[in-house]
Symmetry: C2
Subunit: 141 residues, 2 copies
DNA sequence: ACGCCATTGCAACTTTGTTGCAAAATATTT
DNA sequence: AAATATTTTGCAACAAAGTTGCAATGGCGT
């Protein structure tokens, strides 16, 4: 149990220089709480950065273990903050993800862990993603 | 236990007119055995169709329940033949998928089923995808 | 405050995906 | 088998998404 690191501390902890773009984009993730796609960030007026900067920032954050990717079937990869201690180039999450078909919100469901999969002979797992889609608790009526 | 439907029979069974593009692309899936991305089909010299035709054919096949999508984190959705009886607009698979980080081959692992997930209150699942990545049995040394 | 190095924005480009429409191919009817 | 109706295809034109090189800017250590 440790206190939430500030935006700036998080960047410094991962050996990144503190720039407007990084502070802004990282705080977007903090504030939103949910996963964001590139397009979400680009369309957020509060963060007006060049598209290229957003691409590079997201890539850097993934490499440094600040955010993780969430696979999708719609050619729109989403990103969410890593909550545990993910090292650079070495993510280890075991929570599942939920994508709402209705509102599009993508959730990290930390309470539910991905089960261990016994693969056929010769297959070695390095990462397992479990993505559930359906209707979220805000959209059910 | 029933015999494998021919390419043409499969198309007719799903109320699709039998065209060169559909026969060709469907047989690509049969022959390959594994999942294919749009780019794989476009680059296969045996199937020389307009990009637009490939997009539309894949979309039609998904809608008719002939192929299913496999989410990915690299903005490259893959498609694979449905083996069970998937109805139009109503896929029900429960096998997992494996994506090899080395050779890129994407496998449907039919022997392993996706576990039932107990979601938090208010969340309703319509589909669950489990994707394992790592090294496949052809790439291990 | 200075200088070095990393980061950003811009421009130009490639790749990927979409839409409308006429021509061609397929299916259906006679 | 031919004529007609319907569907599918390819093309063109476009929109959106992602990449690369480079000069200008801004952050960081001294
Ligand atoms: Zn929702
Ligand atoms: Zn997550
Ligand atoms: Zn492999
Ligand atoms: Zn599959």
């Amino acid at each position: 149990m440790h206190t939430q690191l500030s935006i700036i501390d998080t960047l410094k902890k991962h050996n990144l220089s503190v720039t407007d773009a990084r502070k802004n984009i990282l705080s977007l993730f903090s504030q939103s709480g949910n996963a964001l796609a590139h397009a979400d960030i680009e369309q957020t007026s509060s963060a007006e950065f060049d598209r290229v900067t957003i691409y590079r920032t997201l890539q850097t954050f993934v490499e440094k273990g600040i955010i993780h990717t969430i696979p999708s079937s719609d050619n729109s990869v989403r990103y969410a903050l890593c909550k545990d201690e993910c090292a650079a180039g070495n993510h280890h999450h075991n929570h599942i993800h939920f994508i709402c078909d209705n509102c599009g919100i993508t959730y990290c469901i930390d309470q539910i862990t991905v089960p261990k999969i016994q693969l056929p002979q010769g297959f070695k797992a390095s990462q397992t993603d479990l993505i559930v889609s359906g209707t979220c608790n805000k959209c059910e009526q």
